[in-house]
């Protein structure tokens, strides 16, 4: 099972608001690449992005592509509808990325039922088209 979108509400929820923030995450997503902000001074990762590095206070950042591998850090299963855009039930996962310390990513699973999800389960990123313009990074079981 995976999240089902109601196309009627695309504009309400699926167009990320990134123009006001120089956000390489969404620019990466447009090229089907998962990228995170990394301080060029001290190597600290930050997600969501920031203006200044919390560790060295530098403002030099690079956007580095992730291996996309991670583990389930927490999750929830939405069973009560909050908006008709999203058909319940669906699962939300918080994935701790393997190679980017301190980076966790909220997303959906594409290939498993809520019952199959467990803490520390290994997952990897894949891209799923939700509108003509956008594909979102989602996760699948490793080896699945």
């Amino acid at each position: 099972m995976s999240i089902e979108y109601n196309p009627k509400y695309m504009k309400h929820f699926y167009d990320p608001v990134w123009e006001n923030f120089e956000d390489g995450f969404w620019q990466g997503i447009k090229q089907r690449k998962l990228k995170f902000q990394k301080c060029s001074g001290c190597g600290t990762f930050s997600h969501p992005p920031r203006v200044r590095c919390p560790k060295c206070k530098g403002e030099g950042w690079e956007w580095v592509e992730s291996s996309g591998k991670g583990r389930i850090y927490s999750w929830t299963v939405a069973r009560q509808e909050v908006h008709p855009a999203f058909r319940v039930p669906f699962e939300i996962v918080l994935v701790e990325m393997e190679n980017e310390p301190g980076v966790r990513l909220i997303s959906n699973m594409v290939d498993c039922t809520p019952e199959e999800i467990s803490f520390d389960m290994p997952v990897e990123v894949c891209f799923r088209e939700v509108t003509k313009e956008w594909a979102l990074p989602m996760f699948k079981k490793v080896g699945g």
Binding site: I3, F13, F25, P54, T76, V77, V82, H83, I106
Partner: protein
């Protein structure tokens, strides 16, 4: 120089709590402020300050702004007005700002209020209509991760995993709140008992939460009046002294989505706790009764840990069986029924209940309550108060 005991709460007022108030948020606020003035023995025109709050970002529309409430009350001028963001996290901070305003002489009588109409109005908390303009929501909303219940569920599930806390332990928080509401005729759940059986068999809304783990949805408003101890002497009520205030953010604080620190937890509370106890010159042992912000059951044991009533990982066990947190126990909590069972007024009703405990007029009165801890919303920048007899 300290703010300790430089201000007190001298009036509390409330509308009825209902599923359909049949009037606007401004009208509800006017009614609550009027009731607070009557309670205090003040004329409306003596009010010269307003401290209010809203939900920055996600539910932008604030439907009872201070100038509209003042205008409808016929207050000619506000010498002080201040607003605090972050929804329920602001609740105690709103009172702290009022205390700072009167202690510094910027204003004499400051009204704090919250007016909400989610049950029948246009802004329904937990029911977003679109992705908010604030950039951070782009990381959540497109995945259907779109309500406070889901956000806090994700934090709570991790906390339960790390600490071994159980659904049954959360259930006791819901049950004790309900017991308190059964003694409180104002409560939405007055006359509606809850059993553990019902709690455990209720369907999940967002794992690990059921409807019994989340706060009420209702219309209503609550107002408080803050002034100096000197002015309080001429008023009707026994004052509730503001012995301590605490504000807390923490490393990498977000609004309900602080998912990026070593342990998700509620470190904002740890910071607010340190400040509020330091100012009040009190410790956890001195607290007779606590009103712990309970938009969600799990955040109550999480606060028992972060406010220092027990160690990390012990909050669930603290709630087991309910005896330690119910009336007569070592730390009675949420004696009006809180937001799980009295009403959801973004914590303002819990501050009013703290005042009643100091006055000795609660429907679940703790005998000789001297020191009351009240906390603000969780998973957001948060605030806390200690109210006392002022001795």
């Amino acid at each position: 120089m300290s703010l300790k005991n430089k201000a007190c709460i001298v009036g509390i007022g409330s509308t009825e709590f209902t599923r359909n108030a049949g009037r606007s948020e401004i009208h509800l606020a006017v009614d609550a402020v009027t009731a607070a003035c009557v309670d205090a023995g003040l004329e409306i025109d003596q009010i010269d300050g307003m401290s209010s709050y809203g939900t920055a970002g996600i539910y932008a529309a604030e439907l009872a702004p201070d100038i509209d409430v003042a205008r409808s009350l016929g207050i000619p001028n506000l010498r002080y007005f201040g607003q605090t963001p972050w929804g329920g996290g602001a609740s105690c901070g709103v009172v702290a700002h009022a205390a700072m305003a009167v202690a510094s002489g910027v204003a004499n009588y400051v009204v704090c209020y919250r007016s909400l109409k989610p049950a029948s109005g246009t802004v329904r908390y937990g029911r977003p209509t679109a992705i908010p303009a604030e950039y951070r929501y782009s990381y959540y909303m497109p995945y259907g991760f779109a309500s406070p219940t889901m956000w806090v569920a994700t934090m709570a599930k991790r906390w339960m995993h790390e600490t071994g806390a159980t659904r049954e332990q959360l259930g006791y928080v819901a049950l004790v709140s309900r017991e308190n509401a059964l003694r409180n005729p104002r409560a939405m759940f007055y006359g509606r008992p809850l059993t553990m059986e019902e709690y455990l068999h209720s369907p999940m809304s967002s794992d690990p939460f059921t409807l019994h783990d989340t706060c009420l949805e209702n219309d209503g408003a609550v107002a408080l009046i803050v002034t100096t101890p000197e002015r309080a002497r001429d008023l009707k009520q026994k004052p509730a002294f503001i012995a301590g205030v605490g504000f807390g953010t923490s490393y990498d604080s977000h609004s309900m989505t602080s998912f990026y620190r070593d342990s998700i937890g509620l470190p904002e509370c740890t910071e607010a706790a340190r400040e509020v106890f330091r100012m009040a010159e009190l410790t956890q042992k001195d607290i007779d009764v606590a009103q712990l912000y309970d938009a969600f059951t799990a955040t109550v044991p999480m606060q028992l840990e972060t406010y220092g009533f027990c160690k990390y990982g012990e909050g669930g066990a603290f709630c087991q069986g309910g005896d330690r947190i119910r009336l007569g126990g070592e730390l009675p909590i949420n004696t009006s029924g809180g937001m799980l069972a009295e009403a959801y007024i973004h914590g303002m009703n819990m501050i009013a209940e703290g005042v009643r405990q100091v006055r000795g007029t609660s429907t679940s009165q703790v005998k000789d309550a001297q020191n009351v801890l009240v906390t603000g919303g969780l998973g957001v920048p948060t605030t806390a108060l200690i109210l006392t007899q002022g001795n």
